[in-house]
Amino acid sequence: MNPYVLATLLFSLGLGTTLTFASSHWLLAWMGLEINTLAIIPLMAQHNHPRAIEATTKYFLTQATAAAMLLFASLTNAWLTGQWDIQLMSHPLPTTLASLALALKIGLAPLHTWLPEVLQGLDLPTGLILSTWQKLAPLTLLLQLQPMNSSLLIILGLTSTLIGGWGGLNQTQLRKILAYSSTAHLGWMVLVLQFAPSLTFLTLIIYLTMTFSTFLTFNLNNSTTINTLATSWAKAPVISSLAPLMLLSLGGLPPLTGFMPKWLILQELTKQDLAPAATLAALSALLSLYFYLRLSYAMALTMSPNNLTGTLPWRLLPSQHSLPLAISMTASLSLLPLTPALTALFTL
């Protein structure tokens, strides 16, 4: 892609999210979301094959629908209450509509069906931007909504964790697995949104770190299916030995970092007298854990039957910078002892 155009698009991606972060007016927040959607469209379509174009079209249609719903919710709020402030949205109807619009934007169940297909049509770096950067602005708006009927968010959260777990079980394509894992993690984030927004923020940051390292690991190994993961031990042995731990961190096992948000969220739910919801969420994490375990198994815990000469792929000089991967992998494996510090740092 033309470097000037690429620079403009990446700048607009940053501008859109910053605009949504910095705004207290619904119209400006909506504008930031639209700028984000528009700026990522050419990035998604840059590899010209029909699958990428299909993914771009689906992404554009769903995001435009969600933005229209959000605009409608803010207009309804302006009509009912006479003001446009994000944090003063007090009427339940626009608040519910805005929550559903933002849920469609980020891919919460039952509004998640676009996410696996869109992510499948993209290459891994663009999918990384989609899964991490594009989630920041809508979650900022969700964090700023006034407390409302908590049943909606609890139902969205539990459905997302369950569907994220069950949906990912039957997949062999890594990008679809990551899409369902994104839905499940967003479900955990939204589950605790009404009760402790700081935990949502903490979960978001930790999820971003873990997903970042996962996408970069798959990109380094140039693998998009479980089968191609199986030869990654010969390409980059160190990464293949750390990647199972990173995947188990995504699954939320102690003593890895991914356990921290789940632990704190379960504690908060129990304090809020929602023990059945907490139990259901914890059990749904087992479903996700199973397919992360399957990926770890394929990657590092087994060798597929083959003759000797077939086990070694070409070992070329690595062309990627691995410093971001190194930083995020370290963060996603070893930050659990810093739980008190992180809880104090990521407070709203």
Binding site: T8, M31, A45, P50
Partner: protein, 172 residues
Amino acid sequence: MMTYISCFFLGGFILSMVAVACNPSPFYGSFGLVAVAGFGCAVVVGSGGTFLALILVMIYVGAMLVVFVYSAALAADRYPESWGSGGVAGQAMGYLLGVMVASGFFWKEEYGVLWGFGGSVEELAPQRGDIGGVSWMYSLGGPLLVISAGALLLTLFVVFEVTRLLHRGAFR
């Protein structure tokens, strides 16, 4: 009298939307869009938003839709399907039935004719409708205008980039 005219425009709005929904080809669907925009602007004028309706008609219908219609006409069939073809009448009947069912669902006895707001807010009562908002938009809302213009410029670049990419033919 004004109520009757506004009702006529509202009815025309709904019928044009039905026409857009059951268009047999984009060429005629965009004509339905012109009608929708025209009737919608007439409704907005009747509610006091004269500036908004004028800008919408001039820029949306007058420029963008004309450009779209000409490019669709150039790219589309030589003999496009028109309203009289195939199952279009059946589809239109179906949509009209849906509209009547939906409005009947929300109908109450005291609804003679529905009318909404008059369009002016109390503290701006001397002006008609949206003139106060226009002056705010150009003075205190200057940064908003700049950001909106920036977003539209970005849309232009995005469309250029997408059509340049698709020129290599994945999207036929």
